[in-house]
Symmetry: C2
């Protein structure tokens, strides 16, 4: 975590108590929190921190590549702090729980050139859907 804060400072990120708390919340649990959940946890550590500030900090962390946004349900975006380890997501259609998963091979490789329509393809996001053991 201090690695993260150091990295951010090195990039000219002004280190405020609010930003520190948001970064700590994301680092604390290896989960997929919504912005409101991040805000709720941040408030516990720093009462009075505003929702707008949390949104700002999350947006900056995403822009800096430290956190990735995932939208698995068409509702609130979720923030995944595991940005430096490439992975995909497995989502339970029943309860919505999300697990990080690692498919075999390079997911980009299975898209043939003639199916790329001249695009320069840079990234791929995969969502596997099914029922978790508890919901099945």
């Amino acid at each position: 975590m201090s690695d993260l804060l150091e990295r951010l400072r090195g990039r000219g990120w002004r280190l405020t108590s609010q930003r520190r708390v948001v970064a700590e919340v994301l680092d604390g649990d290896h989960v997929h929190l919504t912005a409101d959940e991040v805000h709720a946890r941040a408030v516990r550590r720093l009462p009075g921190i505003s929702r707008a500030t949390v949104y700002n900090a999350l947006g900056e962390l995403v822009a800096l590549g430290e956190v990735v946004e995932v939208t698995t349900d068409g509702r609130a975006k979720r923030y995944d702090p595991n940005a430096h380890r490439p992975h995909q997501h497995l989502v339970c259609s029943g309860c919505g729980v999300i697990r990080d998963v690692h498919p075999h091979g390079d997911p980009l490789a299975v898209l043939p050139t003639e199916e790329r329509f001249g695009f320069t393809v840079a990234a791929v996001e995969i969502t596997y859907r099914g029922q978790c053991p508890a919901c099945a």
Copy 2:
């Protein structure tokens, strides 16, 4: 299209002029429209059709498996009438244009058993991201 309407009637779908128009709009162009875009086109054919009705009809078509919802940008959901031909999506990070694509092989097969955590995996959604020729 009349196939679709017949199929829906066969399933007890009460065929109203509004539902007919929504189905026709989706069938007309092979595109990925937002609910508001569907509404705008539906109004041209049936002035006065309400947004709520369009949302209702779209939700029913999705539930019936005739249309799939796609959320590629965290904003408005898009409705893809090409539900019976399995495919994935290639999205331009610049202009947002969406193309249907067909990767090689079975996308489910690349997820090893030990990465499924006991889930019964039923479906997979893949979004490839890159720059289209015009934006590159």
